[in-house]
């Protein structure tokens, strides 16, 4: 991975411009700092300071109206004994463990199909990507409508095959699978990334494997998947981080002002509970402690994935 090298190697190759107004400007640090100053300011004000201040607030009791009162580690003690935190964590992990592999396998299947679609690939690609443009709120609405247990389209479809579909939107055991099914509808970008990776697989390698008598599944497992493993890794990392923070679809469908008619504990994701604590109950200190925990979880999960990638992800040399 060469993220930072090209400019420096190029600077050596480029002829030095003569000194004058703006001459040799590439070494004028202050100009560069002017250019990057928007991000520098934004980083300090909206990233560095908030992260530090979240850490501070997590040690306090704060409701926005009154000044924060220092509590020490009380919020964290409450956190580990809060049944809803435990529930929200379990929901989030279960959902992530279901949706990330499901999305990966599904999008890989679609990409493999697209690869063989010939001239019509563009059309199908468009169809598969379209749902990704849909506002997540509307996806939440569609979930409620199409996965409705009594009159939803999905169960009607399952009925054609003699399957008595579950109550996806009300049965606690089926709420998360319903959300996973819904998430499969928006795998468009993964499909496109995987398709682009599949098209980089050298044809000679596949031909060689074919000559050696390797079956389609063996070629896929031993040739194709290792070569596209960087793209797979990228998708797994991005989807995992997104799943751990998933909010909008589930919040739309199962939470909010009017939604008191049924139990929605099964859809209580961590980000939803955090949002409720912060902005519905104004428990800013407690919510900050939740945020610190989420931050830690994301970091640990990412670190584990980085370690696993050293073992399973193959970066072929000579990437263009």
């Amino acid at each position: 991975v060469s993220l930072a090298t090209p400019a420096s190697t190029r600077a050596a190759a480029a002829p030095r411009p003569p000194r004058g107004r703006g001459g040799s400007g590439r070494h004028q640090g202050w100009v560069a700092f002017l250019f990057i100053s928007p991000w520098l300011i934004g980083f300090l004000v909206f990233m560095a300071y908030p992260v530090v201040y979240t850490g501070y607030l997590s040690l306090t009791d704060y409701d926005v109206i009154n000044d924060p009162t220092f509590l020490g580690l009380d919020n964290y003690r409450e956190l580990v004994s809060d049944e809803k935190v435990v529930l929200a964590l379990r929901n989030t992990f279960v959902y992530t463990l279901m949706s990330v592999p499901a999305q990966l396998v599904f999008s890989l299947g679609l990409a493999l199909l697209l690869q063989r679609a010939g001239r019509a690939a563009g059309f199908f690609r468009t169809a598969f990507f379209l749902p990704k443009m849909t506002p997540p709120v509307a996806v939440g609405v569609l979930l409620l409508m199409l996965l409705n247990g009594q009159s939803g389209l999905l169960n009607e479809l399952l009925g054609w095959f003699g399957i008595n579909g579950p109550n996806w939107t009300t049965d606690p055991d089926w709420v998360k699978p319903g959300l996973v099914v819904t998430s499969l509808w928006t795998v468009g970008s993964s499909v496109i990334i995987l398709l682009a990776a599949l098209q980089e697989v050298p044809e000679e390698l596949l031909d060689a494997a074919r000559v050696d008598g390797a079956s389609w599944s063996r070629r896929l497992w031993h040739v194709v998947l290792p070569i596209i493993s960087p793209a797979i890794y990228f998708i797994v990392v991005v989807d995992t981080i997104a799943s751990l923070q998933s909010f909008t679809e589930a919040y739309t469908a199962f939470f909010g002002a009017g939604n008191t008619t049924y139990s929605n504990d099964a859809a209580l994701f961590y980000a939803i509970y955090l949002f409720q604590q912060a902005f519905e109950f104004l428990h800013m200190g407690y919510a900050s402690a939740m945020a610190v925990l989420l931050f830690a979880i994301v970091m640990v999960v990412t670190a584990v994935q980085v370690m696993l990638s050293r073992r399973y992800v193959h970066y072929t040399g000579g990437a263009r």
Partner: protein
């Protein structure tokens, strides 16, 4: 980077080679192989599977539009063609909710968010791509690292900042953070700038062009394809964002369309009134602009997505 699900678009292994954006088709059709018996069977299977999947992906839209043209009692009948075709819902939804205001608010937020983030990210990306300065690699590492920070970790203090400025309840917090650029777009544009020949800019400097002129009149026009991708990504992100609307908007008239749709769901869905036909119609109104944007910018969007993850 303030929506929680924005992470799905960000990642450290992202790159945007300009040749891929500039070319007409980043994903060319694969070479055809001669058909055999197995080849034909495979083709039939592939064709059938693609057809089924296309229906699965597109049908929810058709269902939604169809349902929005049905009277209240028929919304859940799952018919493709409405038994009774009516446009009443589209009139009714305008009476039931300040839809025009919501659309205006969202359009304003989306345009401001897109304009500011595109320009500011390009500025910053240029600073990192063109100039050498002490601490550059460290700072750029910070740009990349900041993509990993979950939105929740900054959400509360960010709210408190806008609150102390008296801007909670206005549309400003929904876009103003974008004037500082976004790490993912900075990364994307920097990659693109690095792909341009530096001799071009050196020559312009020799001719006496200042730093700003080189950036604004030479580099930016050459970056148009990447700028379009950034603008399209942000347009979609800003139009569809719900969470900031939930956090910052108080009065119904100030809502964005996604926030408004959520409030309609709360009011007409579970609130006891059971006007699902209005919710369905509002969903169509919320979604349609994105479909239009997609069909206008389809090539750039797909190429932009394709180039996010292919290169290690």
């Amino acid at each position: 980077m303030s929506t929680l699900d924005r992470a799905s678009e960000a990642g450290p292994t992202t790159s945007l080679p300009p040749e891929q954006l500039a070319s007409d088709d980043a994903v060319p059709p694969p070479p055809q192989r001669g058909p055999g018996h197995r080849g034909i069977a495979t083709r039939v299977f592939v064709g059938a599977a693609l057809a089924v999947m296309t229906v699965a992906f597109v049908y929810p839209f058709i269902w939604l539009i169809s349902a929005s043209l049905k009277p209240r009692s028929d919304v859940f009948d799952n018919r493709l063609i409405p038994e009774t075709l009516t446009f009443d819902n589209y009139i009714e939804v305008w009476n039931a909710a300040p839809m025009a205001a919501w659309l205006m608010n969202t359009a304003f937020v989306t345009v401001m968010a897109t304009l500011t983030v595109t320009i500011s990210s390009a500025l910053v990306a240029w600073g990192f791509a063109r100039y050498q300065f002490r601490g550059r690699n460290l700072l750029f590492g910070l740009v990349l690292a900041s993509m990993m920070i979950p939105g929740a970790a900054t959400m509360i203090p960010t709210y408190l900042i806008w609150n102390s400025l008296g801007l909670v309840g206005t549309l400003t917090p929904l876009w103003a953070g974008n004037v500082f650029g976004t790490a993912f777009y900075i990364f994307l544009l920097r990659q693109f700038f690095l792909g341009l020949p530096p001799e071009l800019f050196d020559a312009a400097e020799i001719d006496g062009a200042g730093h700003w002129r080189v950036f604004w009149h030479i580099a930016l026009p050459l970056t148009r394809p990447a700028l379009v991708v950034v603008a399209l990504f942000e347009f979609q992100a800003a139009w569809t964002d719900l969470m900031r609307g939930l956090i910052y908007l108080r009065d119904r008239e100030d809502f964005t369309v996604p926030r408004g749709l959520k409030s309609m769901l709360d009011q007409f869905g579970f609130g006891g009134e059971w006007h699902w036909e209005l919710i369905v119609t509002a969903s169509v109104i919320t979604t349609l602009p994105m479909i239009i944007v997609f069909f206008i910018g389809q090539r750039q969007i797909i190429q932009g997505v394709a180039s996010t993850g292919t290169k290690g």
